[in-house]
């Protein structure tokens, strides 16, 4: 705790390489190997990536390429086998459990590929749970939760349980929950995968707005080309390695080419 605090303070006093301060996330040679009995799966094989504050980043890659695994490392949900992840210049491996919980609670908003809504809780309870963990009193949390649900178009569904909702609706609840504590970083694993065109677009616009207005850093894993358009950068992962980084403009050309065939 003290080590990381003093490290943080040192960094913020400017005792660091200039310029890197602007990187909200830095992944340095991150490896992740899953061992299950005799078999080993190398999910990440040395991923290095710097993400600027307020950047909108899309990660693309085939199924099983390591996108979700990378999200887990960056979000402090799992520890890399080797390599380091810095959030705001703090090595998250150095954080104690209290700081790690704080980070997961307020710094990062997660939207999981499988939603992971708490089935026994209503929408509003799901959305206000992170607020409760952040110490917000329930009245205030309720108001804020309803407001966010309104924004994702589920204002009238606050008391429904996840099981009573469609996939797209559940996904929107998950998005609302990720926004509960106004995180600096939004990690979204396939956030539009289950949404129709219109809702998907609305969500993408919401993300862009969050980025533009609040400076939220957005990282998404996606196959959605609409999503790529709004991105600042597109990172390609294959077999646990970054194979290329491109801009949407370059992508446009390629898509055009592909479409032309």
């Amino acid at each position: 705790m003290t080590a990381s605090h003093s490290q943080t303070e040192a960094l913020f006093r400017g005792e660091t390489e200039a310029g890197k301060l602007d990187h909200v996330i830095r992944a340095v040679d991150v490896h992740k190997v899953f061992r299950m009995g005799d078999s080993e799966t190398r999910a990440l094989a040395g991923v290095s990536l710097d993400v600027r504050r307020g950047e909108y980043l899309s990660i693309m890659g085939p199924s099983g390429s390591g996108k979700s695994t990378f999200f887990n490392m960056v979000g402090g949900l799992d520890k890399p086998t080797s390599g380091k992840v810095y959030i705001d210049q703090v090595d998250i491996a150095q954080l104690d459990p209290y700081e790690l919980a704080w980070l997961r609670c307020r710094k990062v908003g997660y939207i999981f590929q499988t939603f992971n809504l708490i089935q026994v809780m209503s929408c509003i309870e799901n959305v206000t749970l992170p607020m409760a963990f952040a110490g917000m009193d329930s009245e205030e949390a309720r108001d804020k939760g309803l407001d966010i649900l309104q924004r994702v178009g589920l204002g009238d569904r606050a008391l429904h349980k996840p099981a009573e909702m469609s996939g797209g609706q559940q996904q929107r609840v998950a998005i609302a929950r990720a926004l509960a504590n106004s995180p600096d970083i939004l990690l979204a694993d396939e956030p539009t995968g289950n949404l129709d065109l219109k809702t998907g677009e609305e969500i993408i616009n919401l993300f862009s707005r969050l980025r533009d207005e609040l400076g939220v850093t957005v990282i998404t894993a996606t196959h959605d080309l609409k999503m790529l358009k709004t991105s600042d950068r597109i990172v390609w992962i294959e077999d646990g390695l970054i194979t290329r980084v491109s801009t949407p403009e370059e992508m446009q050309i390629e898509i055009g080419e592909v479409g032309g065939h």
Binding site: M1, S4, H5, T8, E9, F12, N72, G75, L77, D78, K79, I87, D88, V90, L95, P97, Y98, E99, L100, A101, W102, L103, R104, C105, R106, K107, Y110, F112, T114, N116, L117, I118, Q119, V120, M121, E125, L129, P130, A132, F133, A134, G135, S138, R177, N181, D184, G215
Partner: protein, 341 residues
């Protein structure tokens, strides 16, 4: 925008209780199964405790009644049909409950025929030693040995009584040779004490045996509850993982499970204590007569036993939750999320 990493605070207990309660309510089916495990264990415990309390009360009451019956039959054996004869009762010092009950029976049998010395009791007029001796054909001496007079001459002067009955063991009176014959009521002697000691030893053994059975049944309860909670943890891997991703501390997850099991334990043991006590009282009521059972049971003890059973059940459920809560709180969020259970 906040740029440094802060420290997560612990959620207030009130919120944890709230979440635990809604968790129990939503999984009411599973919760009830867990509760019923506690109910059974505590009902068994409480039924044994109640049995002990009722048996003590009933048997001491029966014992007293039996002794009074004996005293009354001694009186009628000595006096024959009590036509016109007078029984004198002399009480010294501390009068026991049995002797008091005996006096009450004497009074109830016919106040005119009896007189008592030194006992203030409804229906009995305290009289002097002289007045007592007047015309009585039998003297019954009760009370404690220390307070009794050394000589019986004063008491029996002017009495036609040939026999003096005495409830106190080993009481010797001076000048007995010329006077009336002094006899001891049979159930107050040394043999009786020995018999009582033997019965107490048997009761102790019985208590030990029952304690052992109760201990085993409570252990079974703990294991049952632990198993149910462990299953509930497995069932909720994903939920727990999600909570951790949203900022729950491990200690919060642990607290959540402990609160949940404490609530389950409390509900189960209150139910168990009530059913156990009620069931046993009714069973004993059928065996001994409801009036006797409900009249003689010491409700203070019963309440105390109930309170103890509830505390015991709650603590047991919490003890059962320690391991499952640890399993739940130690999970890595990413792994927990992958769980497909």
């Amino acid at each position: 925008m906040n740029q440094s990493i802060g420290t997560q605070r612990t959620l207030p207990l009130r919120r944890a209780v709230h979440i635990a309660v809604s968790g129990i309510r939503i999984r009411i089916g599973r919760s009830l199964v867990t509760v019923s495990g506690v109910v059974l264990g505590i009902a068994f415990l409480m039924s044994n405790l109640t049995g002990q309390i009722v048996k003590t009360a009933v048997s001491s009451e029966r014992d007293a009644r039996h002794k009074v019956d004996l005293m009354m039959s001694l009186v009628s054996a000595e006096m024959g049909p009590a036509g016109g004869r007078t029984l004198a009762v002399a009480a010294f010092g501390q009068v026991s409950d049995v002797e008091r009950a005996f006096l009450a029976r004497v009074v109830a049998a016919g106040p005119a025929a009896f007189r008592a010395l030194g006992v203030a009791m409804q229906g009995l007029t305290p009289v002097t030693a002289d007045a007592l001796g007047d015309g009585a054909s039998l003297l019954f001496v009760i009370g404690d040995a220390a307070s009794a007079p050394a000589s019986i001459g004063d008491l029996t002067r002017g009495m036609s009584a040939r026999v003096v009955l005495d409830t106190v063991a080993g009481r010797a009176y001076a000048g007995g040779a010329a006077g009336p014959e002094v006899r001891r009521a049979p159930f107050f002697g040394q043999e009786a004490e020995q018999q009582e000691a033997e019965m107490a030893a048997a009761a102790r053994q019985e208590r030990f045996r029952i304690t052992w059975i109760i201990a085993v049944s409570l252990m079974v309860t703990v294991v049952t509850v632990a198993n149910a909670l462990l299953m509930s943890v497995t069932e909720r891997f994903r939920e727990i993982g999600t909570m951790k991703c949203l900022g729950a501390l491990s200690s919060f997850i642990r607290t959540l499970f402990l609160i949940e099991s404490a609530l389950i334990g409390m509900a189960g043991s209150v139910l168990g204590a009530i059913t156990g006590a009620a069931f046993t009282l009714v069973i004993y009521g059928f065996t001994y007569r409801f009036g006797t059972v409900f009249g003689s049971t010491n409700y203070g003890w019963l309440l105390l036993a109930g309170g103890g059973a509830v505390v015991c059940g709650t603590l047991m459920a919490m003890a059962a939750a320690i391991y499952p809560a640890r399993v739940a709180s130690r999970m890595v969020p990413a792994d927990a999320l992958r769980s497909t259970v």
